[in-house]
């Protein structure tokens, strides 16, 4: 990931309508943000559309970035995640109202659920909290990964994993609780 300090500087210049800085910010971050959108939407055209909208939003809202919102990358990832999630759900409503078997979440093949979990595991290793998060069951971790990386809601996860809704809500809640306590135990500041 690009250095936080240089991204903060680029964002500050973008807030002053510096187009050269904006292109620099795009070159430094677009591949990462594209992967975020692709993971949620799993369609290159739609992910591209969301990426463009996100950078338009970043250009307009750069002055609203403040360090308390996290690193510039966290701030930008959330713009992309929000727009991707909105599009995913808007499309699902649209498809559901026009076809009988509309729920796109059901199109997720069981094997593709493996990828979010691998990404979760690798990220936890990098964050040095893999051991601490290892106390979660594999289902709890899988539920957390599907929600974060795929933008799935509890009912999607319950359908995919063939589990009761209440159980899935418990898995996600437990995953988040554990993430919080693992980060606190690891002494990650500001968290």
């Amino acid at each position: 990931m690009p250095a936080t300090e240089s991204l903060a500087e680029l964002l500050a210049r973008v807030a002053l309508r510096d187009r050269r800085a904006f292109e620099g910010l795009y070159r430094a971050t677009s591949a990462h943000l594209f992967s975020v959108s692709l993971r949620i939407l799993r369609n290159e055209g739609r992910a591209d559309e969301v990426l463009q909208e996100s950078y338009v939003s970043i250009w307009h809202h750069a002055a609203g970035y403040h360090a308390a919102a996290g690193t510039p990358m966290t701030w930008m990832i959330n713009i992309v995640r929000n727009k991707s999630i909105d599009l995913l759900r808007a499309r699902r409503t649209e498809v559901a109202s026009t076809t009988e078997i509309g729920d796109e979440a059901l199109n997720v093949a069981a094997d593709s659920a493996g990828e979010p979990q691998r990404l979760l595991d690798d990220s936890l290793i990098k964050a040095k909290i893999a051991e601490c998060m290892g106390t979660l069951s594999s289902q709890q971790r899988q539920a957390l990964a599907l929600a974060y990386y795929r933008g799935m809601v509890h009912t999607d996860i319950a359908n995919l994993l063939n589990a009761p809704l209440g159980t899935v809500k418990g898995w996600v809640r437990r995953g988040l609780d554990q993430l919080k306590s693992c980060l606190e135990a690891a002494g990650v500041s500001g968290v």
Binding site: A12, R17, S35, V36, L51, N78, L119, L176, L179, L183
Partner: protein, 249 residues
């Protein structure tokens, strides 16, 4: 429902940040986040926690057409490369586009539509509408001796505070303070604005509104002084940072 009860707020904030809060509940909570600093902060904390899950994500290069699409949307001309653009050039280009015949008609219709929509559906524009337009402000970027942007200073036109954000820590010599100066464009003597910290963001109280205080000031600078300067003092040495300021109104 009181969204701001701590336990409820934390539950909503984490579900919102994760993405599992859906449908009308998601929209309602977005409105709460926009109006409540406590809710906004609770979401930020969860986003930062969840951001560790992005550490291992492998980047995927988008097609080059994506960048051209963004340029087209923002600057209405895919052939203008950013290498020749300046911030002011970009703004002029945007204004020219706005006031061309079709652009003007489109902008008027768009503005009316936006006004109506925003009155009825404030969440339609996605996020943080309060930041959509820069309020009338006084803004400066100060560079270090090698030309690197080191400090952003900003103040509202009628504000009596100057927000100073260091983009890189300032190496203040022991026994000295970092003193900010305002440099009038008519060549009159610089006057002291206040002492700034070596890093982070701070707010300097101004004796008057920035409109009155900085009306004739085209540059800001920082020097290292042995003590905070008073009105009538002059900088003791060379400027450690200096840069241009603009009035955005």
């Amino acid at each position: 429902m009181n969204y701001l009860l701590p336990v409820r707020l934390d539950r909503l904030a984490r579900e919102y940040a994760l993405g599992t809060l859906a449908g009308p509940a998601r929209r309602r909570f977005e409105r709460v986040v926009r109006s409540s600093p406590a809710a906004s902060m609770a979401v930020d904390v969860w986003r930062q926690r969840l951001s560790v899950l992005d550490l291992a994500a492998a980047p995927v290069q988008p097609p080059e057409s994506t960048w051209h699409g963004i340029e087209r949307r923002l600057f209405s001309g895919p052939n203008q490369s950013a290498s020749t653009a300046t911030p002011i050039g970009g703004a002029l280009q945007a204004l020219r586009g706005l006031f061309s015949g079709r652009g003007l008609a489109g902008a008027l219709v768009g503005a009316l539509l936006c006004a109506v929509l925003l009155r009825t559906q404030p969440d339609l524009i996605g996020m943080e509408p309060r930041f959509d337009a820069l309020p009338a402000s006084y803004v400066g970027v100060l560079l270090d001796p090698v030309g690197k942007a080191a400090l952003v200073a900003s103040s509202r036109r009628q504000g009596r505070q100057l927000t100073v954000k260091l983009l890189q820590p300032l190496n203040v010599p022991a026994g000295h303070v970092a003193q900010m100066w305002a440099l009038p464009k008519d060549g009159a003597a610089p006057f002291p604005v206040g002492v700034i910290p070596a890093q982070g963001t701070s707010r300097l109280a101004l004796p008057d509104t920035s409109e009155k205080l900085f009306f004739n000031v085209s540059r800001l600078a920082v020097s290292f002084e042995k003590a905070p300067s008073n009105a009538g003092d002059a900088p003791a040495g060379a400027y450690a940072l200096i840069g241009n300021c603009v009035k955005v109104w």
